[in-house]
Symmetry: D2
Subunit: 287 residues, 4 copies
């Protein structure tokens, strides 16, 4: 990706109205913007328009640090929620883990292979078990053991770490603790969780046991943003695998862990590439 | 299939114990049985053994009408639940429909093409709308309109029709009424329903609206036996399709109807071919 | 769909260049066009831009019969291939069948249920076998038996029928004859075929036997436009199912027929809804 | 898995004949064998019977080292190809890699997490690039650079390494060299390769480019045993992902690498758990 010129990406949503596409396109055209990707979606029922536009910065007629100001009048006119990202910025990601290693291994391997456009400055865990993996990958591991009594102070400690490392995004890589509403509120639509079932089926604990008990013929995994309500945040990615009565709970877990790591990595990549827009409790995925 | 010699199929379940496979296999071997298919499953957690064996009747050393008596001592010794079916018997199926035609069209077309090993002597509906389709296929259509007041008497009328036509199996092809517990009890594990979602997600009414509202990335359909508890019976077959934010509720419904008809037909075929064994609230599918 | 106001749909492709999106959007905006859907795709490697825009005709500032003339200058300026369709036009479709009924049954049932935005004025076949199905659905069935000697004259007869009925689109619903290059040339990108494998695997005859012989774990079906080269035309839709060693050729055929009918119907619907753009030997599907 | 008592697994194939199931089951029953899993398959067309039986060694009436002798007369009587494995034996696996790390990372992480019942004593590569990963995981890495001239001597060097380390199984984790027929012959059905397409589609080089060029709507990956004929060995596992025109070659590669690593790991696990039987050019997977 190093041979590609840097791009700017605009993510916006607003009430649907005439002239939106024409106005945004004209803005880019007037400044000689070379559009790489453009995709929009209209939710007719909700009356919402959502758009993602990515264009090359080389040759564009507005300087990078003047871009926001140049676009602001358009945003104001249409009442847009919007954000602007640059492809050469690298968001900083913290991994939260507990005792299960498969998602952590997978994300760190992808990180080392350059698949994820980010920096991972630290791993935080409520257990010491996975510290040796972080060590193998040369990434600092912070063990913050949790009890009901120590939860507030440990969340505060975690927040201090996140701030100290300038963390933009938190990925819960099979982190088995529930974050407090306050903690979540500070990282709205920036905490990604993997739930080990096809939500909304089998929300809550021990979903593979639930799936086995119910005798389902397909199992799934769901990556979603964390909100105050458990397992109910906007869904980013899902995938499924076929199973049968021949699969024990242990088999379902094994099949499921493969789903989990692929789905969590996909959601993380989509987020880091600025391809996810949240509206209401739903997402638009500009893939 | 007409050139194949008739077969017998034994479906059995019992507490797991040593000697089961050896004893059943020896029984067939001693009588010169030529096994076509044999499959067994042990649920180690529940301690249950389940088996399906199919063998050719031609050349078998026990007459068809003496077979049950010949096997009974083995069944008794191991405490088996068991049933015996012959491939040239054709179960009699009643379709129940309401206003949506896609599953009905699909099942009747398969029936006419010889895909389903059964007879379909009648269609029962609480609406008159689909009568013309039954007429095109030359199958009697019985319109039994329902109100809360008339439900008991109309269920009684349906039961009389089922008995008069010697019906073995009921397929609810998008039948939008809930059958009474008494009605269900008379056809235990013989009423197949298609639920238009990936159960247990989105049980109940309007699942496609629920799926759209929740922003899921995959939708499904589930065929299951009807039990007293709504949408909670043993699952026979499930399938899924990938969807996206680009899909409106109408798109989800259209994608879903294709899933529904394929999944319901698959479940119906599995049942008619004696490939489903129910234990607890689960199924073993001997495919 | 009757309560929806009619829409116009513009499908266009041209060399990628700046100002395309802005110019098309401005054209619609200036004439008070209410865009329902808009989607575009840039193939960076080929340097091709492709777009689909759909907007409401009610309230639009250009009359329907003046629309092409109004847009022509833009098309000329950018060197566009383009077409304009109206949602209340109903393309006329001819089904070609041989002896297998499943795709024919499925398409006719969908037609009767209103799933397909088209008219089906006739069915053409090289065999008499499926005439009774057409009769049940009240659709004329033309039997044009084929031998190597009679092929040219029978294709000529078919062409006369297609012209007499004003046919726009031909759907080969498991039609087992190869159309001549001349015939195909007359309906470029307007003849849809279903191939009973996951192309390019198992092109040619008896793909399920080939798949069984090769021991694949997944089978597929492919709907594509017919070109001069057998089984090599632009792919419109594909789908797959999981299979195993337990599946005989007969089982693969049965699983495959379900794939075939769903995939062919999907491709037909996409074509009829003007959602397919062909470029090179590929398609863009605006779904 | 440490709390489970060790088991023996018998894998056998032979011409189909009466009494097979009964005789094998009786053998185990007579010696108080507690069957954990039993599965058989009959290929009616080829007239081949294949079976996998797994039973507990604790309490079994034949000593482990006398088992083969005790079973031999049965095997001889029916003309069986057979093998006997013990669950506490750990096959020794060599990974072969080139420059792409994703399958190597994935397999080593699974190895460290205890997902794979094996030892991995070494990694062999024709490039030095991935040595640092092996080092992070503490596994010896042997760099054997290849040119057309040095290939024979380097294969000989590799064979010496394999023998020195007592290697039973070779996993080609995106190893981009073709092994010689002699080399392959020494490890028949013991070399597992991952091909980055849905075989037999896109055999040979650059399959993702081929897939993009052909405009397929689904891509796949295939794990198979290596035979003399390139990309034509018995298929162990396959999986697919939905793609679209929006996916560039780079996107296909990214989606494909996720398939590759999951499919290769699945095939490796199935092989290590003695769940694969090869007959002709096909496999039976006892899952």
């Amino acid at each position: 990706m190093s041979d590609v010129s840097p791009t700017a990406t605009l993510l916006l949503s607003c009430p649907d109205q005439r002239g939106l596409v024409a106005t945004v396109a004209a803005f880019l055209y007037e400044h000689d913007g070379n559009i790489i990707h453009a995709d929009q979606h209209t939710d007719a029922e909700e009356g919402v328009f959502l758009q993602r536009v990515e264009w090359e910065l080389d040759g564009f007629g507005v300087e990078r640090d003047e871009l926001a100001d140049a676009f602001a009048p358009i945003a104001e006119r249409f009442g847009m929620n919007w954000s602007l990202r640059f492809s050469d910025a690298r968001p900083r990601v913290a991994l939260f883990v507990s005792k299960q290693a498969h998602c952590m291994y997978d994300l760190l391997a992808r990180y080392r292979m350059g698949e994820l456009r980010c920096e991972i400055p630290l791993v935080i865990s409520n257990h010491a078990d996975l510290g040796h993996i972080a060590a193998d990958f040369g990434i600092p591991y912070h063990h913050l053991p949790l009890t009901p009594e120590t939860k507030p102070e440990q969340e505060a400690a975690a927040l201090r770490l996140l701030e100290a490392h300038g963390v933009d995004v938190i990925v819960l890589a099979r982190y088995m603790q529930i974050l407090s509403a306050d903690f979540v509120a500070g990282y709205q639509n920036r905490i990604i969780n993997i739930h080990h079932s096809f939500l909304p089926a089998f929300a809550g604990a021990r979903p593979y046991h639930q799936a086995h008990e119910r005798g389902v013929k397909i199992i799934g995994a769901t990556a979603h943003y964390v909100t105050e309500t458990l397992d109910d945040g906007p869904i980013i990615a899902q995938d499924v695998s076929v199973v049968s009565h021949r699969d024990s709970v242990k088999d379902l877990v094994r099949t499921g862990t493969d789903l989990e790591k692929v789905v969590l990595a996909r959601a993380t990549r989509l987020h880091l590439d600025n391809r996810v827009l949240v509206y209401g409790n739903r997402t638009v995925i500009f893939d």
